[in-house]
Structures are given as structure tokens and as C-alpha cells.
Symmetry: C3
Subunit: 159 residues, 3 copies
């Protein structure tokens, strides 16, 4: 298997969505300080960069499997933002952390299984050494626009 | 327009509250490590450093506009803590991230609009270059003392 | 009183649980980058590294005091992970932040008092200079497996 993330992404048959647009918003999706990268909370994106459907709470309107798929889409959106900002996923030296937030229906607490959809994609694309990360997987009362999953991340670039 | 934040603050007619008191609490509001600043979750403060009113959930007891005003007060409190710890807002080199938490009434999910109250104030005071930040804007089940908004932040100082 | 954390821990009569097992999970509990340590969200552990009981929401199935005890167990689990990864608690140079998440029953908002169970333990073991930290103490809609408290942390090692 290829060892560079851009090639792995191709080998896995994955493509990235258009990055989310924030032109008129009072924040940005990514900030690079030295080798340290901060990523805003990202939501699931469709291929065109709009919100992916379905919306709603995991364990309610959405099944666990739909929540996992949403988490996977969030991860692909994080990669789209990273590639746009730094040119190539191959510049990533290591993932530090994910803060994984699930729009949880009352009583639904299998939150780690939902966020695994993102963690496993990152490990698939970046491999164990670069892709390993700390994380939390927790249940929020509400998320913006009723998205099922939102994930914030920090990572490192090669110098 | 002035380019230094302390002058901008004056030009905008803004004044900062007394910093929150944590003398008997088992944590601190700010920690500076090298050029990196960590800020505890801050709540909306009145001018005397006490909790601002009204309390309650945004989208329930509080309107969106009241939530935005609360977020703006949180941002002013963050600035008060920063100034007290490092002497002047002019020492800030860049904002890295805001983690914006809204005490959300069930079904209220326009969380980004609430946290914009803080983001816009920071951009007004620090300008685009220094004030730009990543962020999340999410809905919590409960916040301390039923405050409507709590925000955590990380930023950088000039060396 | 002893000034090194390992000796203080003994003097306080405290012992650490077995670290949580993550062998088959797609994330890790700790990541060390230079002198900076990132810790995943930790949950309350029994002595054998399994989930501590009782489970449930603080202010509902669990009292405030049970929530505080859960937060204390989370802190001991964080210490277990740190010791296993870096060899000794005496290598810790400073705590930067705790993100304290309470599984809050509707209407329960004395969240700071719950997380004090962790903050006070850290101050007891590490002392004021090293143990002081920023933090947030907030109420989540759901936490994994219905644990009452989950805490994420960042800290620094001696170089």
C-alpha cells in the first residue's frame, strides 16, 4: 500500500468535497501557526461543499450507521480544508486530536462508534504512524443547522 | 482607523468589565506558556465582574439577540482577563481558536449566529489579520449557573 | 510535604487504576509532541481499568457528591495514562487545561462543583505551581456509555 496520503486517498477510491465556503463569516476554517494546524468545527459536506443530508439527531432521525457515515463525511471535509490551505495532504506530519461532537438523541450514548467513522478514515488515509490521534466523542444538545456530527481537529505539518 | 487594539477599543467606545475573580477556585482563568495563551471558559460579565443578566437558555428564556449580546459580553471578559495578565491587548499577535458554547433551548440550532457576537467583536477590536480565528459554535445541555454562553480561547502573544 | 508528585501521591494514600485499554480502538489515549502532551477524553475507571460505577446523569441518578467522586476518578485515570506513557508523574512541568464535561440531568448546572473533584486532586498531587490549570466545566447531553464525567487535558513535560 502507498505510504503517502494523497496516493492512499486515490487507492481507496475517495474524493474530497469542495471546501466549505466562509467568505462572509467572521471566522476561518483553518489557521496555521508554525507547524501547528487548528481546524474549526467541521460539518458533513456534500460533494459540492453544501451541507450533506440527512440532517437530524443520531439515535433519533438518523441511525448509528448514518451517524458514522456523517462522521466520515466530516473527515473528508477536514481533508479538503487542509489540502486547500497547505497544498497537499502529504505535508501532514501527525494528527494530534479530534474533538468529535454528536448531535445525540436523548438516551443515545454510543458516541464513540459514531466518531469511529472519522477516526477510521483518517487512519486509512494517513496510516497508523501519522494518523493516530487523541480524541473525545461526546453528545451535544444541539449542533448548527441540526447537522448530526461536528468535529474540530489539531494536527502537525512537516517543517 | 487605529491599528492597535487598545486604541481601537477606545475608538469603538468599549470598556472592559472587571476581570472575573477566581481567588478561591481550584483553577485559573488564563495560563501563558511561552507565546501561547490558554483561556478558561468565560461567562458573560457585568461591569463589576459579576454574572451578567439575564440568565437562561438561548432560544428559550433568551432571544437570539440576547444570546448575541451575551457572547459579546463574554468576549469583553476574555479581553479583560488578557489585559490583566499580560498588561495590554496590544501584545496579542493572533487569535488561534474560540470554542463557543451556547446554552441551547431544545430545538434552537442557530448557534453560529450567537457566537458571531463574540467573533465580530474580536475582529472589530483586533482587525482581520490578528483577530481571525478558527472556532466551533455548539449547543450544550447545561452551562454553569445557567449562563447563556461560555467561550474558551487560545491565542498568541508577540515575543 | 513532598514536592514531587509521585511522593505526594503516596503521602495522600492514593493509588492509580490500571490504564484504560485501547488496543482495538481507532485512537489513542495520549499523544506526546515535544514537551506538549494531549490526553483524550477520559472516563471514570475502577481499579482494574474497567468503567467505574455508578453510571448515569449527575443531578439525576447521581448526586453532586457522586459526580465529584467520578471526576476524581477521571483525574486518577489521567494520571495513570500519563505515568504509563512517560514513566513518572514527576516529569510533568505544568498543566495547561482541563476540558471538564458533565453528563448533566436537565436543570442541573452546578457543573463547576463536579469538576472541582478533578481540579482539587490535581492541585493536591502536583501543588499550586505545576498543578494550576485553565478549564471549562460544562454540561453535555450524553456521554459515552452513560458515564457521569469525561475530561480532556493538555499539559507540559520537563524537557
Amino acid at each position: 500500500m502507498a505510504t503517502n496520503p494523497e496516493q492512499r486517498l486515490k487507492d481507496l477510491g475517495l474524493s474530497l468535497p469542495e471546501p466549505m465556503q466562509t467568505a462572509n463569516l467572521p471566522f476561518e476554517l483553518i489557521r496555521v501557526h508554525g507547524d501547528h494546524v487548528y481546524l474549526s468545527g467541521h460539518v458533513p459536506l456534500a460533494a459540492d461543499g453544501g451541507l450533506a443530508k440527512p440532517l437530524g439527531k443520531v439515535g433519533g432521525a438518523l441511525s448509528l450507521e448514518q451517524g458514522q457515515q456523517a462522521a466520515r463525511l466530516v473527515a473528508l471535509g477536514l481533508l479538503a480544508t487542509i489540502r486547500q490551505a497547505v497544498g497537499s495532504l502529504d505535508r501532514v506530519a501527525g494528527w494530534l486530536k479530534l474533538f468529535g461532537m454528536v448531535n445525540a438523541a436523548p438516551g443515545f450514548n454510543n458516541l464513540p462508534a459514531v466518531i469511529n467513522g472519522a477516526s477510521e478514515l483518517i487512519l486509512d488515509v494517513f496510516g497508523e504512524t501519522i494518523g493516530q490521534h487523541t480524541r473525545s466523542a461526546v453528545g451535544m444538545a444541539e449542533l448548527p443547522f441540526d447537522v448530526p456530527v461536528e468535529i474540530e481537529a489539531e494536527l502537525l505539518l512537516n517543517k
